[in-house]
């Protein structure tokens, strides 16, 4: 089996071949193909007015290939979604690859192909890249970093300061699919499901909201930390509260069941293809209609509202009329038996 060696990272002939035979083969972007020290992109590529959005994310997932996705796919989705959550139209990505000595070359090639395919589907160009090789035992196979640049059309002011009591909190679909699918794909869990990661680029979904004329106040893509993490971030130190209804949370039965078996709360399990939007209360229907018409938003639902009460807190109302305060879990989510 052909594997990555330290030689591939030395900058010599092996590196050159790796770049041409694996990376450029799947990423035929002309700017990337110039292999300059930097991508040089014409100003005309950037519409006038508005703002720039610029973000970076690193991907360190295990296993590298999991039900419903892989690290290459994720490396585009995560960064595109961060841009989309800023109201930006994603334009350009860079991709930095840290390869572990010993990584099978065919696995690497699959990730490059996957990243390329996802970029194409999302309508973004991968214009610059870098590869490094680290000794066996580091990098867990492969780490990828992607940085993304996007353009925010004028008039899209997405800030927590725009959020008002009475606003509706929407989520674009079911919770916890990614985190659960990945956790179960790891060795030793012994749970079998048909669960797949929900990783998907959501820029189109976001554009639909704006196209429907919904004045969006705030967006966030729910990743690690789940919807719960996003809600806590939304409320923190703000003069409004967040209230969600346990009965309104969309969760697949399999995610619910796996979470029960492992003692986890789907609210805090990671997603990679879900957007949270805060919109004026009377716009909730329009927003949901726009989302539900898109393949990535068919399960979109309103989960709660912004309140005047309990500023800075997230309240979860249970099905029984009681309530609990949601707080960020202290550390990693661990299966429990208590």
């Amino acid at each position: 089996m052909a594997r990555v060696t330290l030689g591939h990272g030395s900058g010599g002939e092996l590196t050159r071949r790796l770049i041409h035979d694996v990376f450029l083969k799947h990423l035929p972007d002309p700017e990337l193909g110039r292999l300059g020290d930097a991508a040089v992109l014409p100003r005309e590529g950037l519409p006038g007015g508005g703002s720039l959005a610029f973000t970076t994310d690193s991907y360190v997932i295990t296993p590298l290939e999991f039900p419903g996705g892989d690290i290459g796919h994720l490396a585009v989705c995560g960064t595109v979604n961060d841009l989309a959550a800023a109201g930006a139209r994603p334009l350009w990505l860079t991709a930095g690859w840290i390869l572990e000595e010993g990584l099978p070359l065919d696995l690497l090639e699959r990730q490059v192909a996957s990243l390329a395919a996802t970029a194409e589907a999302a309508g973004v160009r991968v214009v610059a890249g870098d590869t490094k090789v680290v000794p066996h035992g580091l990098a867990d196979g492969l780490y990828i970093n992607t940085a993304g640049l996007g353009w925010v059309p004028p008039g899209r002011l997405l800030r927590r300061e725009s959020v008002q009591p009475g606003d509706a909190i929407l989520v674009s679909g079911t919770l916890g699919d990614h985190g659960m699918a990945v956790m179960l794909a790891r060795q030793g869990m012994r749970l079998q499901t048909n669960l797949v990661s929900d990783a998907a680029p959501l820029n189109e979904l976001v554009e639909r909201l704006f196209a429907a004329g919904v004045p969006v106040h705030w967006l966030r893509d729910a990743t690690r930390g789940g919807l719960g993490g996003v809600l806590c971030e939304l409320a923190e130190t703000r003069p409004y509260g967040v209230r969600v209804e346990a009965t309104a949370l969309p969760v697949r039965p399999e995610v619910e069941a796996a979470a029960e078996l492992l003692g986890l709360d789907p609210l805090f399990v990671a997603n990679e293809g879900k957007m949270v939007a805060v919109v004026p209360g009377d716009q909730a229907e329009a927003a949901l209609t726009a989302w539900r018409a898109h393949p990535h938003g068919t399960q979109a639902a309103q989960v709660g509202v912004i309140t005047e009460e309990r500023p800075g807190q997230v309240l979860l109302r249970t099905a029984y009329g009681g309530a609990r305060v949601l707080r960020l879990p202290a550390g990693e989510l661990l299966p429990r038996i208590c």
Binding site: R190, Q192, A257, C338
Partner: protein, 75 residues
Amino acid sequence: MCLAVPTMLTEKREDHGTVELAGVSREVSLLLVPEAQVGDYLLVHAGYGIAVLDQGEAQRTLSLLNEIASASLDT
């Protein structure tokens, strides 16, 4: 120390088997519930079945609960 979830036994292979809950299946040990049969509901804790649920009792409980609840709200 009580996280034990009711799941249905779908396969039995001597002292271990497969349980299923809403499309999620898990391999569990049946060492502590040797009497369990396919179709039974088991309480599963830390990878082991620890009790076979009594379906008759479950029905009785549910009927009783519904009775108490509706009696209380009626009066």
